[in-house]
């Protein structure tokens, strides 16, 4: 089974637009939205929910005020400043459990924490696994892992051999979680100085974890000079450019309509995305990594 994850470093480069289009173009696949913080893919795919599951992960300390003798030890030892006035601030608590081990009167218990939901849905393009991290929750990395795990199971049981996942922004915990063991990463960038800076860092993460990469330059005509610079940088690092997609308002219009752009228009954007998908599927077929 192959898995391609689409990343961008920074958000807003058009990652989800590209993933939505691949969903429409790819033959047999399972879709996974690993952007569990701010999932948008469902807005393009009109999913109907098949299954909704709670995601329990991590713990939060709770102080029983009747037992607490206000000795202050827990407050002194907590390294995350999560206890004030003998009360735990659940937002700051990292759930490490240190306080519960040291309290001399056993007033502290660790409570399981429901940190979000994950869903399996059906779309016109195949099954979609997506998730919703609770507000201000930790463990987005673990929820990403759960989404990928589900996507794999579905792919196995339904005989699909490809997973397309929409990755989270950044380079931290959820990104690492979405990347480990993937067959290929497509990095969507844009020709802005900040986009280029972010691309460098997300390339570093992929290299660090040994995942092969392709780059897509979106809105490539926004700044031709920067586009050329990205191309030469990629060339010098042996990174292939899989596609160059021009800027077009049609993309925003397709988002408003809630339709992947390749199904909304026949213009240049669509042609370029189709060509890119060709390059990518060839790469996936040839990659020996299972």
């Amino acid at each position: 089974m192959k898995e391609i994850v689409i990343l961008s470093g920074k958000g807003g480069t058009g990652k989800t637009t590209i993933v939505g289009s691949f969903a429409a173009l790819a033959q047999s696949k399972v879709l996974a939205d690993c952007d569990v913080d701010a999932a948008d893919l469902h807005l393009l795919l009109s999913p109907s929910e098949r299954q909704k599951s709670e995601f329990w992960s991590g713990q939060v300390a709770y102080i029983d005020r009747d037992r607490c003798t206000e000795c202050g030890l827990c407050q002194e030892l907590c390294r995350f400043d999560a206890i004030k006035d003998f009360m735990v601030d659940p937002v700051s608590c990292e759930g490490c459990g240190f306080c519960s081990h040291v309290c001399p009167v056993e007033a502290i218990t660790m409570k399981e924490n429901m940190s979000g939901y994950w869903f399996i849905s059906d779309t016109k393009y195949g099954p979609l696994v997506h998730a919703r991290l609770g507000i201000a929750q930790e463990n987005s990395g673990k929820l990403v892992a759960a989404v990928r795990q589900q996507a794999k199971q579905i792919a196995e049981s339904e005989g699909e051999d490809l997973i397309i996942s929409d990755g989270p922004p950044g380079i931290g915990c959820p990104v690492i979680s979405s990347l480990s063991g993937a067959s290929l990463a497509l990095l969507v960038t844009e020709p802005t100085l900040s986009g280029m800076h972010d691309l460098e860092r997300v390339l570093g993460v992929c290299r660090h974890f040994g995942v092969p990469v392709l780059v897509c330059i979106n809105k490539c005509d926004l700044n031709e000079g920067n586009t050329q610079q990205i191309e030469s940088q990629c060339l010098s690092q042996g990174v292939e450019i899989a596609g160059r997609v021009p800027f077009d308002n049609i993309v925003s219009q397709s988002i408003v309509q809630g339709i992947p752009v390749v199904e909304y228009s026949n213009g240049t954007v669509t042609q370029e995305i189709e060509r890119m998908w060709h390059t990518i599927s060839a790469r996936l077929r040839n990659s020996s990594k299972e």
Binding site: D35, L43, S140, I171, G204
Partner: protein, 288 residues
């Protein structure tokens, strides 16, 4: 006053707003811009600050003194993150998984565990054109942004105006960055994606009990969903920036909006004025 600039997803113009707001205030006293988007810090691209100092960010991870260790297994048992394993006469640590909570070293009955620091990022500070500047950078390959964000915020003094560029999303790094702000500006664009992410961002700031207002970027594309939502939720739209190729071009070249098109300076100063009024109003209300 501390104003954070956030958006449910990235790429909506958060960096544009944070940098231009900071630069528009450069003639007033004590303006500091904190870039807390430590996974992908960008503000320095626009501000080109002169960096005058830096400090490594590290967390304390356990170091096992094998001479004292009796392989009792207590450390592995108390570590919630499975960063220590005891197998027979062998203690293994996995520093990448360690959150630096300190439980293992404190609870080891033999006092066999000392702590050493492990670098996970860096904080740098300096200034640019009269604006103080601090940012953090998470080391590539590291997972945990919050400790780096905490350090960036420690370096900011509280007098004057502090502007915080918040990472995208709604999870722990975002909360870490926004916590303690007097006001949160939510930058979004008028599309269904923008609206979806705005709703999540609003829930987050409400959870933290911080007042918020919206900056609508790239106005002119998309639909009216964001405006309708703001009206219903009684969230003020404090600034509207149109979809404009000149603005996009300046951005692509790393030129702050208020430098490239100085007429925008006044709009950002007005924005600050409105925010100040809203914060004052709210403080009066809560005093009541």
């Amino acid at each position: 006053m501390i104003i954070s600039v956030a958006s449910g997803k990235g790429g909506t113009g958060k960096t544009l707003v944070a940098t231009s707001l900071a630069l528009s205030l450069k003639h007033s006293h004590g303006v500091v811009l904190l870039d807390c988007d430590v996974e992908e810090p960008n503000d320095h691209v626009f501000l080109q600050p002169e960096i005058t100092g830096s400090k490594a960010v590290s967390i304390l991870v356990p170091k096992i003194g094998e001479d004292k260790c009796t392989y009792c297994g207590r450390c592995a048992e108390v570590c919630t993150y499975h960063a220590i394993a005891v197998l027979g006469n062998n203690v293994m640590t996995f520093p990448q998984l360690c959150h630096g909570c300190g439980a293992c070293s404190y609870l080891c009955p033999e006092k066999a565990i000392s702590e050493e620091s492990r670098e996970t990022g860096v904080v740098e500070w300096g200034h640019s054109d009269g604006v103080g500047f601090i940012h953090g950078k998470l080391t590539v390959g590291e997972a945990m942004a919050p400790p780096v964000i905490r350090k960036v915020k420690e370096y900011a003094s509280n007098d004057g105006t502090v502007i915080i560029d918040v990472p995208p999303g709604t999870s722990c790094p975002v909360v870490e960055a926004i916590k303690g702000s007097d006001f949160c500006l939510l930058v979004t664009e008028p599309t269904p994606f923008g609206l979806n992410d705005l709703c999540l961002a609003v829930e987050t700031v409400r959870e933290l009990n911080i007042p918020c207002g919206v900056v609508l970027n790239r106005a002119g594309v998309g639909d009216a969903g964001v405006q309708e939502y703001c009206r219903k939720q009684k969230i003020p739209i404090l600034l509207t920036i149109p979809l404009d190729t000149e603005i996009a071009r300046l951005y692509s070249r790393g030129i702050p909006l208020v430098e490239g098109l100085p007429e925008w300076g006044e709009s950002f100063r007005q924005l600050l004025k409105r925010v100040t009024e809203l914060v004052d109003e709210r403080n009066r209300d809560t005093e009541w």
